[in-house]
Symmetry: C2
Subunit: 428 residues, 2 copies
């Protein structure tokens, strides 16, 4: 049996504690599978005195994660601190420079610095792996990078923020509005300290940007992800969507178009009877479309101690077994800088507007859409309430640019009592 693989863990929150538990409780299983012992030598966290429910006495303690990352008795630096910069970045860089392999669950770090860190890892002969950063326990990074490596990837889609999916599915189930369910999610502890990371789509956008890099061989481009949160999704939208056989999901979509890489993370309508449409609560799902394999769907817990620790350990076991993979599926220096194409693929859209109680208002809306070249598939107007009438429109396929132009023009007609909501209908 080879020498033990020695782990240094920085960050002892839920996931860190979960990793410690697995390494302690499943030593025999891990060594049977990898052919070597997997052990923890040192740990680091902000507060040494906190009780984390796992014994830490046998591990060296470092207050400074950078010092941990550089320790001679650490082979793999496990970064579970979070944050796109600061200590997480400093310690990851220090580890790679010191020739340590790195396993991280930090999507923000990689969404912002993935290219530089991957290059640094490769320059130092290290691996930098991040299965836990995307969709929790679902082995999507491995599946996409390795299992589907014989495919040209056509599209990657994912529901990758459990909190948003919880809010949206609870809105439908309970008939309560966004505000009430946001408060409920908050009370249950489902929200990040900055809730905009969740409901604004930023967290899920980070994840999408990492999947895109692997799928299309491009440098991580989080700035190229069009982000739209779920804050403006109304109960009415969910009901109308259901009526038409759709569900609304915060859906990430990435595809390579003739004009460049299109990445969006936005509320979309998906068929209610599709795997994505059927996804309830906090579960995550990623759909990969390859030219050979067709559609592959992976579903599982997107967060939580066990699932995230499982993903971390998947990466650790790869390293223990000597399976050394590039970060994004090909040498980082060969990843190309993509052009960002905003919503290039034509799609049908769902529009909700509030019309002022003026004669000819509805005709004006229809005219403006028609003049802009947006063709209407169906349209419904409801009774006026407080001088405002809801109008719901489903368009035929159009580009987002054409639609946006129409919406801009419509804004200057003076017949709308609030900004329209436009949601893409994604064919899945």
């Amino acid at each position: 049996m080879s020498s033990p693989l020695r782990l240094g863990i920085a960050g002892l929150g839920t996931v860190g504690a979960g990793v410690v538990k697995i390494v302690r409780q499943k030593a025999a299983l891990l060594s049977a599978r990898s052919g070597r012992m997997v052990e923890i030598t040192a740990v680091s966290a902000r507060n040494r005195d906190k009780d984390r429910g796992v014994p830490l006495d046998s591990y060296a303690w470092e207050d400074d994660p950078v010092a941990l990352a550089k320790r001679d008795d650490v082979d793999v630096f496990i970064e579970l601190m979070g944050g796109s910069d600061g200590p997480a970045k400093a310690a990851t860089e220090a580890a790679l420079k010191a020739g340590k392999d790195v396993v991280t669950a930090n999507k923000a770090l990689l969404a912002h610095h993935g290219q530089a860190l991957a290059e640094l890892a490769e320059a130092n002969g290290c691996v930098l792996r991040f299965e836990a950063a995307v969709a929790g326990g679902i082995p999507i990074i491995k599946s996409l990078t390795e299992g589907l490596a014989g495919n040209e990837i056509k599209r990657v889609m994912g529901v990758m923020n459990g909190t948003c999916n919880y809010i949206l599915t609870r809105m439908e189930a309970t008939g309560q509005g966004y505000e009430a369910l946001f408060a409920e999610a908050d009370k249950l502890g489902y929200l990040e300290a900055d809730p905009n990371l969740d409901v604004g789509g930023i967290d899920a956008g980070h994840k999408l940007s990492l999947l895109s890099a692997i799928a299309f061989g491009t440098q991580v481009d989080f700035d190229g992800v069009e982000l739209e949160g779920i804050q403006r999704v109304a109960l009415e939208d969910i009901r109308q969507a259901a009526d038409m056989g759709y569900r609304i999901k915060l859906l990430g979509v990435a595809r390579m178009t003739g004009r460049g890489l299109e990445q969006s993370m936005a509320p979309c309508l998906v068929p209610a009877n599709s795997p994505l449409g059927q996804l309830e609560g906090g579960t995550n799902m990623v759909v990969v479309e390859g030219d050979q394999v067709g559609q592959v769907v992976l579903r599982g817990a997107g967060a939580g101690e066990g699932p995230t620790a499982s993903a971390v350990m998947g990466d650790v076991m790869d390293i223990a077994r000597g399976l050394r993979m590039t970060t994004f599926g090909q040498p980082a220096t060969t990843l190309v800088k993509s052009t960002s194409a905003r919503a290039a693929a034509p799609a049908a859209y769902y529009l909700r507007m509030a019309l002022m109680d003026k004669p000819g208002a509805l005709a004006k809306v229809a005219t403006v859409l028609g003049e802009a070249g947006v063709s209407i598939y169906r349209m419904r107007q409801y009774d006026h309430v407080d001088n405002s009438a809801p109008v719901l429109i489903v368009t035929h396929k159009t580009t987002r640019a054409t639609l946006d132009e129409a919406l801009t023009r419509m804004g200057s007609t003076g017949v709308l009592s609030s900004d329209p909501v436009a949601l893409r209908i994604e064919e899945v």
Copy 2:
């Protein structure tokens, strides 16, 4: 860039031709991802003259797959001939003995000889990989072996024969019986030359035995898989199941129990609103339950040129990238011989019987079940037709042994006009 990886392909049916296409058409993509050229040097098949829609002139031809397997200019032997013995086995052994890595899509070969072949591979420092043998394009072997390696696996379930799922879902959709849909599947070319491989559950049982070995660290034990085909599933069963909120699937289930490894491939009732229950047509699905990750579901095409070739190429790309994995997730010599536990876990069962038109017949059935210790959750009797009355029973949880004893006793009461059908209700 490293030296090219040279493939020798034995078997040029649909999948073989698909692999040739990928290697020819995606050379740039494959080499960008793996860091080396992937090329075909030699091929073998039964009939040299057949037009397979792909140019083969530039490859050496071998009539004998064993000769192909031993060629000096072949690094990876790709076995796509099929069959558990004969040329497939001989050539695979020859390749491994000659120090070649092997990629195969042959579930029958591995279900019967997996342990010996894995040991042979390891003794010769070769890898033997088989992603394409289980669930077509779904990267389940990789996910289970590598991605979920930090988990103790609790249960593996799968719908892994598209033909059976096609027949069962079409029975429900069209209201036609098994015989009619079997004929339809036959006409569409969905059946193996020996249809019992499909509808008898053998093909899917082969696949399950391979998943079990990985999940539980046991030697492949196909003989330990309890097999039951879908031939006796009647339209009535599908309708009754639907009525109770279930669907009937040919479901593989493997779990380690206190009494040993339980493996079964049999028609089961699963909740209609679960991912397994929602699976339509020829699609495959595998559900893995790990102690850390919870439930992970993978879904995709279980057969066909592109999906199967995609899986073959996933294995080839691993080898090209230097990712060298054991066959079943740990050294073959450390896999333990499992005790086979027949349906050890208690479950509720759905029973369908045909009762003769005799006074007290129903009471007798209820009495026999009660005396055997099988408690009835619900029971329905329908009108007699031709002196036979259908009786449908759902039991409370019981063991299969208890149930079988009750059914045996019932057989000797003389009130049944045919053998009862018993289907497990699997909680998923």
